[in-house]
């Protein structure tokens, strides 16, 4: 396991350097962008997903540079970084969401347990049942609350009888912490719910198909603090049974919900470490600069 290497091209923490040096080495330029090593603990002994040598291009433009990362079983990994750093692009690779973008080319290994999900022969429909996704804006189907949750279970043939489907809907809504609020109005449209409820509905819809991994792309950015707190509480509960990767712009959110935090910068995975370490004493100067608000 190779998990704690630093590199000269991107400097370690500023406190080790003079301010001038730290400043210049904080900038990743075109010249030094090829060779770099992620600092900290990118690998897990109990990996659910293992990504190796991931490179992503949009046409000629490279969006992700040689990223290596494991996501452990039942672990919550938060991905943070400035806009355009590639964190969402990386997350979308984890269930082949980038397939829909013609100009996007993804290389590297993406092992979900032992299976390479980036294999072109892989059928993405069952894959997306195993690796579910929750998006930034709640996007319930224009159907009833019940049908929203039952939809995935129906198309994947998870329920033979109506009562099985009822069970799936109820347990999913319960796990998403929404059951008590909607149990008396399951036939009302999903869009009639509040934003926070809609997002929990989308989470219920995702877990209805019993995924192994849940990807969340800024799941709370459209929600108020109370709804956000509910979702964060839910993430904590879900992590008992699911593996979760979450992209967030809120560093406090990453600090609150995740076990490990990954910091992306200009398409590179700069540092991965225990969340507690990242927010009190990060290994890399760039991580430090970002989380303390020294550049945006």
């Amino acid at each position: 396991m190779n998990n704690s290497v630093t590199t000269e091209s991107i400097a370690p923490l500023a406190s080790e350097k003079t301010p001038e040096k730290a400043k210049t080495s904080n900038v990743i330029t075109e010249e030094n962008s090829d060779a770099y090593t992620t600092v900290g603990q990118a690998f897990s002994e109990n990996a659910k997903m293992s990504m190796r040598n991931v490179n992503v291009f949009y046409d000629e433009k490279q969006a992700i540079y040689d990223v290596n990362l494991d996501i452990g079983t039942n672990e919550v990994v938060a991905m943070i970084g400035p806009s355009g750093c590639g964190k969402s692009t990386f997350l979308r690779c984890l269930n082949r969401m980038n397939d829909t973008i013609d100009t996007c080319k993804v290389t590297g290994k993406f092992l979900l347990e032992d299976q390479d999900i980036n294999d072109r022969k892989m059928d993405v429909v069952p894959l997306r049942a195993r690796v579910g996704m929750v998006f930034q804006k709640p996007n319930p189907f224009p159907k009833s609350i019940y049908d929203n949750v039952a939809y995935g279970a129906r198309i994947h043939g998870l329920a033979d009888r109506k009562s099985d489907l009822d069970d799936i809907v109820e347990t999913s809504l319960q796990k998403a912490g929404l059951w008590n609020e909607v149990k008396d109005r399951l036939q009302q449209p999903g869009t009639s719910l509040s934003g926070g409820q809609q997002q929990r509905l989308c989470i219920a819809r995702t877990i209805a198909v019993s995924p192994e991994v849940i990807l969340m792309d800024e799941p709370c950015s459209a929600l108020d603090p109370i709804a956000t707190a509910r979702i964060e509480e839910l993430i904590d509960e879900l992590s008992q049974n699911y593996t979760i990767a979450i992209v967030t712009h809120s560093m406090q959110q990453a600090a609150r919900v995740s076990h490990r935090t990954a910091y992306f910068h200009l398409g590179k995975l700069i540092e991965v470490n225990e969340t507690e370490k990242v927010f009190t004493n990060p290994d890399h100067g760039l991580t430090e600069a970002y989380i303390t608000g020294r550049f945006g």
């Binding site: 500023a14 927010f279 009190t280 600069a289 303390t292």
Partner: protein, 240 residues
């Protein structure tokens, strides 16, 4: 020399809040350092006016302590500091308490100075007091300088010097005990000197505590309850 780059935030208000915090902390440090100098001088020169001056500074020290606490709380509430910013706020929050305690010990020495001035003959042990006082003032000064410069090596020196001060204190105590045993009439006046020595030794401990916080501030290392050797080892391990 600002190795933690506290002036580099996007938010200028955040820069100035952290800068104010650090400045206020170092100012408080300057005040209590002067209290030590004055208190030791008051006792060895039998200068009650100077002793009164030390006692009058207590209120200001207390007020500044509360002000610093308030600043720390404000920054945590408004900015949710992380990484080195968080460590700065935590280190200052803890060290402020040590500075206030140093002020308290200086006050005790000043009170002993007044008590001694009431007795007729000069007690034994003034040269020890003077020496220990000088060394203690030095390490308080060094710990504040190390804090201002984020200087780990200097902080380690303070911790080492505090161990020397502990030895110096033990020697002085032995001497005074012998003196008291020679003639029990010496006991009451020697006790005042002993209390003052004890206060100085305590001040050394507080300076050492502040230095330990510098390890946390700069390196994120918790070196409390460690020997100087263990501290050095931890730092070297991290540097590798």
């Amino acid at each position: 020399m600002d190795k933690l780059n506290i002036d580099q935030h996007i938010s200028q208000q955040y820069n100035s809040a952290l800068d104010d915090l650090k400045t206020e902390f170092l100012e408080l440090g300057g005040i209590v350092e002067q209290q030590i100098v004055n208190a030791v001088k008051a006792i060895t020169d039998v200068d009650t006016v100077l002793a009164q001056e030390v006692l009058m500074t207590e209120k200001e020290v207390d007020e500044r302590e509360m002000q610093l606490d308030d600043l720390c709380t404000q920054i945590i509430a408004r900015r949710q500091p992380t990484a080195s910013d968080l460590r700065l706020v935590m280190a200052i929050s803890k060290s402020t308490r040590d500075l206030e305690r140093i002020g308290d010990e200086a006050n005790k020495i000043a009170k002993m100075a007044i008590a001694i001035s009431d007795s007729e003959d000069l007690p034994h042990g003034f040269s020890e007091l003077r020496n220990l006082g000088r060394h203690v003032q030095e390490i308080v000064n060094d710990s504040l300088t190390a804090f201002a410069r984020y200087d780990i090596d200097m902080a380690l020196k303070v911790v080492n010097k505090d161990k020397e001060i502990d030895r110096e204190y033990a020697t002085a105590m032995r001497e005074l005990i012998t003196y008291m045993m020679e003639d029990p009439r010496n006991i009451s006046r020697s006790m005042n000197v002993i209390w003052a020595l004890r206060s100085l030794e305590r001040i050394g401990d507080h300076a050492s505590n502040i230095s330990e916080q510098i390890f946390y501030l700069v390196k994120g290392l918790d070196v409390r309850h460690q020997t100087p050797d263990e501290m050095a080892q931890q730092v070297n391990k991290q540097r590798k």
